[in-house]
């Protein structure tokens, strides 16, 4: 995968938003990574550690990345069973038909971040 470029994208997103709000220091970022998002949390973490000292404020050595894993969940349209799918994402374990829809697991989103402005707020 390409977690380094995804991380650069994430840092840009948070930087721009922080800049608009006059936030000069970001202490923590919460990011949601779905199990079916094709993003590897470990690689994302490594990319963050690599980039953190190399980018400009509002990030510094102490900025933390908090990855929240989102489990893949599917619901069958025929019988309503909710389940954690294996690779057969659409396959209902009860009906044994490919009639399920994914409810979660594809998210890759910055949920929130913490920071402070010049007055320390």
């Amino acid at each position: 995968m390409h977690e380094l470029s995804l991380m650069a994208e994430l840092i840009k997103l948070v930087s721009e938003d922080a800049h608009h709000r006059g936030i000069i220091k970001v202490s923590k970022i919460d990011v949601i990574v779905g199990d079916l998002s094709n993003v590897l949390p470990e690689a994302l973490e490594e990319a963050f550690v690599y980039l953190r000292p190399r980018v400009e404020a509002p990030f510094d050595e102490k900025t933390e990345l908090h990855i929240i894993r989102e489990e893949a969940r599917a619901e069958c349209r025929s019988c309503g069973t909710e389940f954690v799918p294996d690779y057969r994402i659409a396959f209902c374990p009860v009906c044994r038909l490919p009639t399920s829809e994914l409810q979660s697991g594809e998210t890759f989103r910055v949920e929130s971040y913490e920071g402070c402005d010049e007055d320390g707020n």
Binding site: H2, L13, L36, P98, F108, E114
Partner: protein
């Protein structure tokens, strides 16, 4: 203070995809994004496709590769307007790269634009380019287990083409199992076996393109 941002990491990329999509709609250009692992036969398939469709449609191609103009040259040799993107290490095309190259086409006069993505069965699946359809090519020598092993790619594509079916007598590849696996991952996806080399099954594929050209652009 805490900021509830709730923003997709690929927000900018997705905005560029929406921009492309609007351009394609306004100019009435059917756009097909072709993905596969390296060497599955994307360029060979495009050569055969272009030969079959060029008498009826004005075709453009965007070629994505890490390096070289080789694939673009293969299509230019057929007289098709082709623009090469070299990602120099990048493992996928994104919508911003496409947006930058679109001014090199006369989209109003282009009926169909094919985009050949970087050879990779993982990364390109995550990037919407603004296309109407995504196609994945899986070739017989790769084995049919690639469908369950790379479910995200097969889940996010509209058609799976099984290429190099001329090699079925020589390499183990279970077409029935492949079709079953695809159904359990993406029940709406179409499954079409072809050989870009011999032309077997190509009529089905080009027939599908003619069909979606009508339905997509008459909307």
């Amino acid at each position: 203070m805490e900021i509830k941002l709730k923003e997709e990491v690929l927000k900018d990329q997705n905005k560029a995809a929406a921009f492309n999509r609007k351009l394609f709609q306004d100019s009435r250009t059917l756009v097909i994004n072709i993905m596969s692992s390296p060497g599955a036969g994307k360029t060979t398939l495009l050569e055969a496709t272009v030969k079959a469709l060029a008498p009826e449609y004005k075709i453009g191609v965007i070629e994505g590769d890490l390096a070289t103009e080789r694939d673009a040259d293969r299509l230019r040799a057929l007289g098709v307007d082709t623009v090469q993107i070299n990602t120099v290490g990048g493992c996928h095309l994104d919508a911003r790269m496409i947006a930058k190259k679109l001014p090199e086409f006369d989209l109003d006069k282009t009926d169909i634009l094919f985009i050949e993505n970087i050879g990779n069965l993982v990364c390109p699946s995550g990037y919407d380019l603004g296309q109407h359809f995504k196609v994945v090519v899986l070739s017989v020598p790769e084995g049919n287990d690639k469908i369950p092993k790379y479910p995200i790619m097969f889940r996010r594509t509209d058609i799976t083409l099984i290429n190099k079916i001329d090699l079925l007598p020589y390499v183990p590849f279970n077409l029935l199992e492949a079709a079953e696996d695809l159904k359990s991952i993406n029940p709406e996806a179409l499954f079409k076996p072809v050989s870009a080399l011999t032309g077997d099954g190509m009529g089905e594929w080009t027939g599908w393109i003619r069909e979606v050209y009508q339905t997509c652009l008459s909307r």
